[in-house]
């Protein structure tokens, strides 16, 4: 099989094995918690890459998928007694459907107008959810310990959720990779370069954009359902936090937009940096300042991110890292 000879396949599988194995074999809970957040970051950044890197549409409100997925997931598991996995899948389907609907509206907008609309949608959803009494309004929903019983108690549930998230991380990377190598992906890249020219060449921009917007919401929504299930509580301000949206963009820029590995590497590095800064007594106060300076430096001097920079220095590596 030619697929087996693709370096990317082994890179993704290797990353998954490391993430699952490192804390898995030693039962290292602290390491697991750290890698859990990193995996969430990789999921958010690589799905965001489908919009920003592949299609050229800057979605500043991407966290709305994560938050809504969390709400649907928590609602199904706690209020309706659904098992976790079907709840997460249905949450993702619901979010993707809603995204398709949103997308048909806002994807008529281009450039900064689109970006503004994505911020507006996130804020509108946040405000709306704060008013839904069935979802606990502005105080949100709390999960009782009993929801963890079917998974063998809270302690074991946390491990199961962790492995599921690693699975979604792998799925996100495979999704990015397959789209990048597909005809669909080629159409997206054409739209990124010049939407009108792409249309004249036969690409159906409205269809392609709506589909990718919806697809880019699916796995983050599942991740959101798992994240908030594990978290034990979900609140509007936490679920629809624009800061997390923008952090995902910073990760993407750090690694390099448009490439599969760029999103993942950027998310990994940013998350390591964040946890280092947060735990260091000297810098914890200035975490945001340092992250801001880092972002500014990247934007001004290395707009292609780490992977773009490596690709320029060593063109032969570009093919491996796609």
């Amino acid at each position: 099989m030619s697929l087996l000879r693709q370096p990317m396949l082994w890179l993704i599988l290797g990353a998954m094995a490391l993430f699952a194995g490192l804390p898995g074999f030693g039962g290292d809970v602290a390491l697991r918690e750290g890698l859990f957040l990193t995996a969430i970051a990789i999921i958010l950044a690589s799905n965001l890459n489908l919009m920003i890197g592949y299609t050229g549409y800057v979605n500043f409100g991407n966290i709305v998928f994560f938050g809504l997925g969390g709400y649907f997931g928590v609602w199904l598991t706690t209020m309706h007694g659904w098992p976790l996995v079907p709840a997460a899948i249905v949450a993702a389907i619901l979010v993707s459907t809603i995204a398709l609907f949103f997308g048909l509206g806002i994807l008529r907008l281009r450039g900064s107008y689109f970006t503004l609309a994505t911020i507006g949608i996130n804020e509108a959803v946040r405000a709306l959810v704060s008013n839904i009494d069935a979802w606990g309004g502005s105080t949100g929903m709390y999960l009782s310990v009993s929801v963890y019983q079917p998974l063998g108690g809270p302690r074991q549930a946390l491990w199961i959720v962790y492995f599921l998230v690693i699975g979604i991380m792998g799925a996100s990377l495979f999704l990015s990779w397959f789209i990048r190598r597909s005809k669909f992906g080629l159409g997206l890249f054409a739209i990124r370069e010049d939407e009108d020219a792409a249309s004249v060449l036969g690409v159906h921009p409205a269809l392609y954009k709506s589909v990718i917007y919806s697809v880019s919401g699916f796995l983050p929504a599942m991740a959101g359902a798992l994240f908030f299930f594990k978290n034990g509580v979900i609140q509007p301000d936490q679920a629809f936090d624009l800061t997390m949206s923008t952090e995902a963009i910073v990760m993407l820029m750090l690694g390099g937009q448009g490439s599969v590995t760029g999103a993942a590497v950027g998310a990994f590095l940013y998350d390591q940096l964040r946890s280092t800064l947060l735990t260091s007594s000297m810098f914890s106060q200035f975490q945001l300042v340092i992250a801001g300076i880092l972002l500014l430096l990247i934007v001004l001097f290395v707009p292609g991110g780490l992977i773009g920079w490596i690709g320029e220095r060593w063109p032969r590596l570009r093919r491996v890292l796609e």
């Binding site: 509206g105 945001l288 972002l295 707009p303």
Partner: protein, 287 residues
Amino acid sequence: MFGVIASMVDGLLLGAVYGLAAIGLTLIWGVMNIINLTHGALIALGMFGVYFLTARVGGSPYVALLPVAVLGFVAGLAIYGLSVHRVIARPPLMSLLSTFAVNMVIIGAGTAFWSTSIYNLPFSVPGITWQGFTFTGAHMLAAAVAVVVAGALYLFMRHTRLGKAIRAVANNRQAAELMGIPSGRILAVAFALGVALAAVAGGLIATLFPFTVLSGSGYQLKSFVVTVLGGLGNPAGALVGGLLLGLIEGGVTPFIAVSWTPVIEFVLFVLILIAFPKGLFARGAAR
């Protein structure tokens, strides 16, 4: 019934301040096609500027607006030089991110110095009570200042050489350069002006409500709403958009829970953006 009208009048007073806050954002958008994401942070800095000048130096907060405006202008020049000038011709993502990066730095530093606790300007202006409804003096004064500043900006843009140069650059940068207008310097001035307006608006808001270093982001979102109502890049429209937003807020408050107001605002925002990307008051060629 009277309660509703009074609430709408109060909404209009607040709306004038929203409008002023949004003018800074829309001016920068109109001149250089950039969404300035430091806007909220500068509003917050304006709040703290007025607070510290009043609390430490003493005097009226309205007098403090003047040095705040000057400091805002200087900060604007610095931000432009650091983060905007190099990305002005690049795709929108770059300017969004570079200004957002500066926003992170300001908010991060502000949080480190002042924490996120609530500050309150220790002063009060006597209000007017009419038919049992009190219009606070601070609201009226703030609206008056906002309208005066907006009017001054209008006159500046219409009747001074610099204002005309800014409009020329906004209209067509290349053509303006061919006419001998140094577009780089004009862009810097326009950006700094937008930032100064944000700081002044922040200072005015500080006279109305308690605030934290994070308050700016809420007003930044409101500014987006206002700008879209009035048309991106249209300063006069921003003031009208601000009044409209204030009117909507004041008009719905008596009827629905406060928590529904942002739902209405943001749904309206997205719908107007989709239906009228050039704003409600666009006259053909608005960019």
